[in-house]
C-alpha cells in the first residue's frame, strides 16, 4: 500500500528532489523490497543511465539518517535497505545467500529492555533477526 508514498514524504520534508534522487527513491518503492546498493544502482540506471554509485550511497545514507529507510545487515554480503519503516516487523535471512524476508511473529512484542539492563544507553531501536537456510540453499548443498 504505497504508490509513490516515499517520494511524497520526501517532498513533504522539503528535501530537494533531483533526477538522481528521484530514480533512486523510485527503485526503493514497495513494502517487501530489500535491495543492495548495487541493485539500486542497476534499477536507477535503467531510468537514468548516468547515475553513479557514490550518489546511490549518499542518497541511501541520507534516507537512513532521516528515518525513511532501514539498513539491514544479515548474513554475508552487502547491506540491504528496507523501505518498510511504517510497519514494525522482523527479518528472516538466509545465512548462505543472504536472501531476506519480512516476518511478523505472533503473540509477543512486550519485549522491553528493563532499565537495569540499559547500561545508561539511549535506546534507538530493536532488531530481531531470524537466521537459517532458505529452501534453495538447502537443496544445493549440505
Amino acid at each position: 500500500m504505497s504508490g509513490t508514498a516515499l517520494l511524497e514524504r520526501l517532498r513533504a520534508r522539503d528535501w530537494r528532489i533531483t533526477p538522481q534522487r528521484r530514480v533512486i527513491a523510485q527503485a526503493l518503492e514497495g513494502d517487501h523490497v530489500h535491495l543492495t546498493a548495487e541493485e539500486v544502482l542497476g534499477i536507477a540506471r535503467g531510468q537514468l543511465p548516468e547515475v553513479s554509485l557514490a550518489t546511490v550511497y549518499n542518497t541511501l545514507n541520507e534516507l537512513v539518517a532521516m528515518g525513511e529507510l532501514q539498513p539491514v545487515d544479515a548474513g554475508p554480503g552487502p547491506t540491504r535497505y528496507d523501505p518498510n519503516v511504517a510497519q514494525p516487523h522482523h527479518h528472516l535471512a538466509c545465512l548462505r545467500c543472504g536472501e531476506l524476508h519480512d516476518v511478523y511473529p505472533v503473540g509477543e512484542d512486550s519485549m522491553e529492555l528493563p532499565r537495569s539492563q540499559r547500561f545508561g544507553y539511549q535506546l534507538v531501536s530493536r532488531e530481531v533477526l531470524f537466521q537459517g537456510y532458505c529452501p534453495r540453499c538447502r537443496a544445493t548443498a549440505p
Copy 2:
C-alpha cells in the same frame, strides 16, 4: 563460570590443539567478552608473538562453524565474537562506537516464528539486538 571450559570442550571434540589455537581460545575465555579479530590477535600475541592474523581468522571461523562462538555484527566496525553460547541472551550495541553488552530481558522469549512465516527455511538462530548510544558517545557529541 568457565575457567578453561572452552579449551576442554575443544579437546573433547578431538580438535587438534596447536599452540596458536590454544592461545586464541584462551583469549576468548569468559562470559562477557566481545572481542574483534584484531583484539584477539593482540591478546594471543602477548602469549605467542608469531601468531598471524590469518590464523586468527581461520580459528575464529572454525569455532563459529562448530558452534562454540557466535559472531555478532552490530553497528559499525569489525565483527565481534561472543564465546557465551551456553546462556541464551541478547545484545545491546552502541551505534557510534560499537561497544557491545550482553542483556537478559525480562518476561518474554516465547517469541517463535510460526510455520506460516518460515518461508520453508530451516531455522538456525534468532538474534535480538538493541541499538542506541552509550553514555560516553552521548556525552561527546549530539
